[in-house]
């Protein structure tokens, strides 16, 4: 028989305001196995823990039930506390009487009754608890970063500088991500390339960093400290070691002059050849052949690039290569894109080439962009004299057309665009239609005010209802000035839409492979919104950049550093403690049917022939064996097992039915 101590926490007034804590103590005192019960204002505090330790020693306790907040919050605390007093940490159970009781009930009597029932279930379970020993697993001292934008680059650099090996997997032919498309960055207006390119080069040259560009993660298995990741290196059709990046092939590709393939990097504002580097400063400076468009791959004729390549680097025979690498930690830095604007027909984005998105404007203003940095209308190549910016296109939407969140970066980049245009062409008339101007951040509001006060950008509180392309090539904008309570009908030359951001398309697939959770908007979820913002709830998975939520470059870089520290903290350990609550097979009942192995998401179950001896049985047969290092204790096998041979340690079938019984008593 166990000797159980029950400790009921007030949690200030969090629990005590709705649950009669004293009454709970009095009622649980008579439960089977309970030899001691007490309450305290804050059980997790130093004093509270000392109370627990003293009681364990004084009453010779063999099991503890803590009635407090969710075990997600303080189970670790109380287990460590029990261990200090010489008790096996797995003899502690937490009854959640805060999140699942006091916070959700209003009636004191009902809440108290429920708290007693929850405590009773935990007591019944502890009566069947057995001491469990944590195992150990080694840590592979190498990290994987998925995504080579500024978030991935900064995370990789910080981890590599700390002395650990890092691999970056990037889907595109070059690292650099979204930031490499930008012209200038707010609030200091540094040129994006000037601050990004050195980092890209550093990544490329860092002895601890390996780049897998034009590559994708295909599969992930394993667990924290020991991930096995399959990476597909798509065939570049160019030998990386031979290519000197001279660019001859790009210049001579016949498709380049035909102007049929839109450049992804320039958002379709110009075309590219079939063999290409996305941009001049690409890292690595090695082109790829876009096999879908290349004449050689389509018809077998052409081969110009191979013929003219001075270093004979073009190789049409190259095949996709799959490598499997071991990692201790994985960082998701898959970034963002802007939403598709097809559903916003009122803004005429698909009708007029002079209605553009902000990223397209970045390309139009970039010195290395399609117009060499000269702002012009895509329809007639004339410089616009009047420009209208429309904010919140698809952000803060309640319907399925857009996104419910604020994209966070648009207010600032619009102010930036307006000022840069005014700087170059001061006689340009600029109007910004806004709902709210949101500029929290260091030197952010000052930046926006400068656009108004110094550059005389016309900010209009109100939204545009419709953009109507006119026969003379101009655009008629119908909007409202809410402060003036007047409708505005205004002719303009160019309309720039601040389209909402969204996580990059591939993130859902990657999150599934990693079993990392994502929210309704496909942003990766953090383990705790406030206290663990760069970790996924899945151990060993970390988050960096826009993949976790809208953020600007300064914030992304800070978060990248934070994620790197967490990764380094993990890789610095030689061994990790493993969860002892793993599945266990009783060979006596196992008939080797393979049901458990089929449902196991971690590949932790194998079969072997074992000598099974018992009453009336003595034979060699095929039974299931669980690899404790791989098992995550999800319990899928225990519910699938038809013969009841599979059981989860710490959550055995008996323990759970006893809990249910005691609740229904």
């Amino acid at each position: 028989m166990q000797r159980i101590g029950v400790f009921v926490c007030h949690c200030g007034t969090n629990i005590a305001a709705t649950v009669d804590v004293k009454k709970v103590v009095e009622l649980v005192r008579f439960e089977p196995g309970v030899v001691f019960a007490d309450d305290y204002m804050y059980m997790c505090s130093e004093a509270g823990q000392e109370k627990i330790i003293a009681a364990i020693k004084e009453h010779d306790l063999t099991g503890l039930v803590i009635c407090s907040c969710s075990p997600r919050m303080h189970e670790k605390t109380f287990r460590a506390c029990a261990e200090k007093a010489g008790l096996n940490p797995y003899m502690v159970e937490v009854a959640n009487i805060r999140e699942q009781c006091s916070w959700i009930h209003k009636d004191r009597e009902e809440a108290t009754e429920k708290a007693v029932i929850l405590a009773r279930a935990a007591i019944a379970k502890v009566n069947l608890n057995t001491p469990l020993q944590e195992g150990e697993s080694p840590v592979t001292k190498r990290a994987l970063i998925i995504g080579g934008g500024i978030a991935g680059i900064q995370t990789a650099l910080d981890i590599a500088d700390a002395g650990y090996e890092v691999d970056i997997v990037e889907r595109e032919p070059s690292i650099g991500g979204r930031m490499s498309q930008f012209d200038k960055t707010f609030p200091t207006l540094d040129c994006a390339s000037c601050i990004l390119t050195p980092k890209m080069v550093e990544v490329n040259q860092h002895p601890n960093i390996t780049l897998y560009t034009y590559s994708e993660v295909e599969g992930v298995s394993g667990y924290v400290g020991n991930f096995d990741v399959k990476i597909r290196k798509k065939a570049r059709s160019v030998d990386m070691s031979a290519c000197t990046g001279c660019g001859e092939c790009q210049a001579k590709c016949p498709l380049g002059k035909m102007g049929k393939i839109p450049s992804e990097f320039d958002r379709g504002l110009r075309t590219r050849p079939a063999i290409y580097m996305p941009f001049a400063q690409a890292v690595p400076a090695v082109p790829v052949i876009d096999r879908e468009n290349c004449t050689y791959f389509k018809t077998g004729k052409c081969g110009v690039c191979a013929k003219i390549c001075p270093s004979k680097a073009v190789n049409y025979e190259q095949e996709d290569e799959i490598v499997t690498v071991k990692y201790g930690a994985i960082v998701v830095a898959t970034g963002f894109d802007i939403i598709n604007l097809d559903k916003f027909g009122e803004y005429a984005y698909n009708e007029s080439p002079d209605v553009i998105t902000s990223i397209e404007l970045e390309r139009l203003m970039n010195a290395s962009g399609p117009t060499g940095g000269h702002l012009e209308r895509m329809s007639d190549h004339k410089q616009p004299k009047d420009i209208v910016f429309i904010q919140c296109v698809g952000s803060r939407c309640d319907d399925e057309k857009g996104k419910p969140y604020c994209s966070k970066v648009c207010c600032m980049y619009t102010a930036k665009h307006a000022m840069l245009i005014k700087d170059h062409w001061p006689d340009t008339n600029i109007t910004v239609f806004y709902i709210d101007v949101r500029t929290p951040g260091k030197n952010f509001d000052e930046f926006y005010r400068r656009a108004v006060e110094q550059y005389h950008v016309n900010y209009v509180k109100g939204q545009v209802g419709k953009v109507i392309p006119q026969p003379d090539g101009s655009l008629l904008v119908q909007g409202v000035d809410l402060l003036d309570n007047k409708q505005i009908m205004k002719k303009t030359d160019m309309v720039v839409l601040a389209a909402a951001v969204e996580p990059n398309k591939g993130v859902r697939k990657i999150a599934t492979m990693l079993t990392a959770s994502i929210d309704n908007n496909d942003f990766l979820t953090e383990a705790h919104a406030k206290l663990r913002p760069v970790e996924s709830p899945t151990a060993g998975i970390f988050l960096s950049g826009m993949a976790q939520g809208p953020k600007d470059i300064p914030e992304t870089v800070s978060q990248a550093g934070a994620a790197a520290v967490k990764v380094v903290g993990l890789l610095a350990k030689d061994k990790l403690k493993t969860n002892p609550c793993t599945a266990k097979c009783d060979p006596m009942f196992c008939n080797g049917c393979s049901t458990c192995a089929n449902v196991c998401p971690y590949g932790a179950i194998t079969y072997e022939d074992q000598q099974v001896r018992g009453p009336g049985v003595n034979e060699t047969r095929r039974v299931a064996v669980v690899n404790n290092a791989l098992c995550q204790g999800c319990g899928a096998c225990t519910s699938a097992c038809p013969s009841g041979a599979m059981d989860l340690q710490g959550f055995s079938n008996r323990q759970i039915t006893t809990e249910v019984d005691s609740i229904c008593r």
């Binding site: 803060r396 545009v464 209802g465 419709k466 409202v480």
Partner: protein
């Protein structure tokens, strides 16, 4: 109108329109779309706040009630599913539904006649509920 009457009407408008005026973020896309904007006294982006603030009386007596063309532009474009066009339509229905009950019948007038009631009021009552 008493507080209860106002609350009842607010609920009725919500029920008829199927829209929640509290969702409005005052972006003004409705007013930026409305072809009848210049004819209206209460502008489309104000409909929601009139309802939220319980000023149903001003809303139902506004010119806007009858100036709305029901073109559905604001309904189509509202990013918050407040759909001012549906709100004003609900307000219009409220008036229409009450018409029968409120109608002033000529034969009832002698009974209502009171020396303290100005003649003008009676005339305006006729006008107001005239078809």
């Amino acid at each position: 109108m008493t507080k209860q009457e106002i609350e009842k009407k607010v609920e009725l408008i919500k029920e008829i329109s199927g829209c929640d005026p509290y969702k409005c973020m005052k972006c003004g896309k409705c007013s930026g779309s409305c072809p009848a904007f210049n004819e209206m006294d209460v502008k489309p982006h104000q409909f929601a706040s009139y309802i939220v603030n319980g000023d149903i009386e001003s809303l139902v007596s506004s010119k806007s009630l009858w100036k709305c063309l029901t073109c559905l532009a604001c309904i189509e474009r509202c990013p918050r599913s407040v759909q001012p066009g549906k709100l004003i339509d609900a307000a219009r229905q409220l008036v229409e539904r009450e018409r029968g009950g409120d109608y002033l019948h000529a034969e009832d007038i002698p009974e209502l006649l009171d020396d303290d009631v100005p003649q003008q009021l009676l005339v305006s009552a006729y006008r107001r509920y005239r078809r």
